[in-house]
Amino acid sequence: MFTRRHFMIATAAVPALFGKASFAQSTKTLQVYTSGDTNISNWWNDSIKPAFEAAHPGYTFNVTITRGVGEENAAIAKRALAALQSKTDPQVDYFEEFEPATVEGSVDAGLWLEMTPENVPNLSMINPVAPEAPIRLPYRGSQVLIAYDSAKMDAPKTFADIVAWAKANPGRFTYGRPDKGGSGSNFVIRAIHEGNGKDPAAFTKENFDAAKAEEMLQKGWAILKDLHPHTFGEGTYPAGNTPALQLLAQGAVDMIPAWSDQALQAMNQGVMSETIKVAQLQDLALCGGFAYSAIPSNATDLEGALTLANFMLSPEIQTACVREIGGFPGIGWDHLPPELKAEYIDVIPVSIPTFPSGDWQTAKNDGWYKNVATNLVRD
């Protein structure tokens, strides 16, 4: 049977076989792999590719989508690692998004190229809130924002603003269940941060201790339990990012936490009322993260890969990242057009806090169900 996998192998192989051989003199084709969602792969093909070809004549790239196929990009990274050891062609130049540490031993083996302002000049403009990591190139970010109806309220600036408004307007605020999507999850985390001195550094992967965690989480539960009866349906939290956005779009609520890219895309598509706006809390932002590109040190066309990396951090593409996919820029806002900064001033975070995965996440999600959601007794 000719499966999707075969199709992708075939489509990836065609330019590798013919493209390089016949057009090698005039055009070099870079092999880019992505496991990102449709919005990302479409953006690369429809928007970045023509821009890259125009800016760098002699180069083009071929995007292979590994989304949903086996180990996705990890399989390609493993192939590159094997190629590194056997000194053969890895048939990959660029990973749109990949976390190098997920392929064991690849970092120590030197598979990943270190990127510095010397080989990627635009790195000098990198967003100050993006964590530094020479083998990972933070080129787009997303963060949970507060989406709200500007006809009904001013932009909330602090967590206390949200609570105060929700209490004054019962049933008009809600957030998704923390295990069903990042928007609800990061709102719950923000409540936990609120209860623990707004200090994300108090939560690290190493400092998890069941008894201490219980004590720290309880401070968050107290805040959320207090909020519970004032939320939509007196505590009937929607089951995910999309259901929460749907409630906002249907006018059932006036404020929700939402992923920046999903909210901005919904607004651009016109499914939201025109008065819906997004804002970031200014006392302590909701959590988020960056997508990191990576380049194998044995890339078939290393020079081309570095050219692409530098291009991705150019103000042109970074502006497109904000405008077209609702992402956060990988470079500092000061390097982007001033009107863009003015337009998005409400969502620019002072910092991008994170919350450790593993035990903390588990304790947070289960604790929420047992402490917050169960306030609901009706059937």
């Binding site: 009937t236 259901p243 249907q250 059932a252 289960d366 169960t374 059937d379």
Partner: protein, 296 residues
């Protein structure tokens, strides 16, 4: 497997019968092997493992893990919620299906055909579609509320994210199967017996209760069992339409396994759910095999 059942020295007629039996067995062999290898063996292993209690000093057999489940109010509430709403949903579906099947049994014409087709329509709609459709239809400011407001009815409280919304979805989703089963049962009710009762002056209710229902009890029980088994293990509908807590067991088990990464706890939850389903499964088997006839 059964290749040595034909002993030497039997006459040719018996040989032929044995051959036919063998062919029959060969037909069921493949599904049986799949059932045994992929379902029965893992289930038995899984259930057996739930009786193993690991302590700091070693492990022993016991019911400690079940005791832990029943000592946890949250888990017990989830189980109670699951059983109660599954029962309510199954009973409602059977009652509605009985009405539909009766109508279809005693009516003819284009409208009856259309209703028959419509009643089977949910069979072809996946749960996730029903969930999103109902969320939009019954949800706040949804079509249903707008229609009510058009005729002046205000104060609509949406069932979305309460136990009522998954209940509506369960009944809707599970209507076709009982309609088919009960319709099949009703074909065994002869027109003569109904006409005889009518001639003796029995009213519609009396005919239903004393003539029709006793003849289709088996169909009703089978229909109930089928719906119950489908609903009790459901996941998509209660996740998307129901409240965050209490959780249906299917949702709870998935969360325990996938999110909390506690397979040992999830196994106990699954075994308890299996025990509840087995009661209904046993009822189904008992009804099916009671008088040796095929499915009603």
């Amino acid at each position: 497997m059964a290749s040595e059942t034909a002993s030497p020295g039997v006459n040719s007629g018996r040989k032929r019968i044995a051959g036919e039996a063998l062919a029959g067995l060969a037909l069921v062999a493949a599904p049986m092997v799949v059932l045994i290898v992929l379902v029965l063996i893992p289930s038995v292993t899984m259930i057996a493992s739930t009786f193993q209690v690991n302590t700091a000093t070693g492990s022993h057999l016991g019911l400690d893990r079940y005791a832990a489940f029943f000592a946890d109010d949250y888990s017990v509430e989830n189980l109670r919620y699951t059983v109660v709403w599954t029962l309510i949903s199954a009973v409602t579906a059977v009652i509605l299906a009985l009405g539909l099947a009766l109508y279809l049994r005693f009516s003819e014409g284009r409208i009856a055909t259309m209703i028959h087709g419509l009643s089977l329509f949910p069979l072809f709609v996946p749960g996730i579609i029903i969930s999103y459709a109902l969320a939009r239809f019954l949800g706040p400011n949804g079509l249903f509320q707008l229609l009510l407001e058009q005729v002046g009815i205000t104060g609509y409280v949406t069932p979305y994210l309460t136990p009522i919304a998954p209940y509506i979805a369960f009944v809707w989703e599970n209507l076709p199967l009982p309609v088919l089963v009960i319709s099949a049962g009703l074909t065994q009710v002869s027109d003569h017996s109904i006409e005889a009762a009518r001639d003796l002056g029995a009213g519609a209710t009396r005919i239903l209760v004393e003539v029709v229902l006793p003849q289709i009890t088996r169909s009703l029980v089978i229909a109930f069992c089928l719906v119950f088994i489908f609903v009790i293990g459901s996941f998509t509908v209660p996740v998307l339409l129901g409240p965050p807590a209490p959780e249906m067991m299917g949702v709870y088990i998935q969360r325990t396994l996938g999110e909390l990464l506690q397979p040992d706890v999830a196994k106990v939850q699954a075994a308890i759910l299996l025990a509840v389903s087995s009661v209904v499964g046993a009822l189904y088997l008992f009804t099916m095999t009671r008088d040796g006839r095929g499915r009603a």
